[in-house]
């Protein structure tokens, strides 16, 4: 059975801090890993990672995948209150149109 574990489950930091969110996974026929940000409604797409060691970056957010150790991290630098959200990771596998989502990390940024 596919498994995804995100840590920490929740995190409270001050504005300006840097945070690192973790996602470890066990899936058969791994293809890619996706990160989503969810505020009050639907998740919005952040990154798709398919190759180990190649950092993807978007503004203050960056993410990297380690396919050998089966984990990914999402970094947010110089956090802002608008970064407060639940961050979800989801590995996808070949031949099975199904994403397995982690339970998410709830990030709260205090002004």
């Amino acid at each position: 059975e596919d498994k995804v574990v995100q840590s920490p489950l929740s995190l409270v930091v001050h504005e300006g801090d840097t945070v690192t969110l973790n996602c470890s996974y066990e899936v058969t026929n791994f293809r890619s890993l996706l990160w989503y940000k969810q505020e009050k409604k639907a998740p919005t797409f952040l990154f798709m990672l398919t190759s180990s060691g190649i950092e993807k970056k978007s503004g203050r957010l960056s993410s990297i995948l380690d396919k050998k150790e089966l984990f990914s991290i999402l970094n947010i630098t110089a956090t802002q209150t608008g970064d407060s959200a639940v961050y979800l990771c989801a590995p996808a596998n070949f031949g099975n149109e199904k994403l397995t989502f982690g339970t998410g990390t709830r990030l709260t940024i205090i002004p």
């Binding site: 293809r31 996706l34 989801a90 099975n96 149109e97 994403l99 989502f101 982690g102 998410g104």
Partner: protein, 114 residues
């Protein structure tokens, strides 16, 4: 921009009622999905469809059925709603194969069964 529209945002239904949740996407995507999201359990897949009239069970299909008569529309049906089906339901769509493409979500439908 891809648009996935869930027509009912907030519903309150009685136990035993039949409930329809409708989802429409406007980008000619082959794949559509229904998830439910509950605190502490994350997003769980109920059903997905990879083509018109085709459907596959997800992780928690019990108590649900689906209908995909047209490519753009994927309906989730609760034949006889129960209180443990109170949840937030998310529809999603995707073009092509998972892993090579991203999945787009609707805004969510909050269902309360009393």
């Amino acid at each position: 921009d891809v648009k996935v529209t869930q027509s009912s945002r907030y519903l309150v239904k009685r136990t035993g009622e039949k409930v329809f949740l409708e989802c429409v996407q406007d980008m000619d995507h082959e794949n559509m999905f229904w998830y439910r999201q509950d605190p502490g359990l994350g997003l769980r897949l109920i059903y997905f469809s990879y083509d018109v009239k085709m459907k596959e069970k997800g992780d928690i299909p019990e108590g649900y059925s689906v209908s995909r008569e047209k490519k753009e529309r994927f309906s989730l049906i609760l034949e006889s709603a129960s209180t443990n089906q109170t949840s937030m339901y998310l529809c999603a769509s995707m073009k092509g194969a998972l892993g090579g493409n991203t999945i787009y979500f609707g805004e969510g439908s909050w269902l309360t069964v009393v």
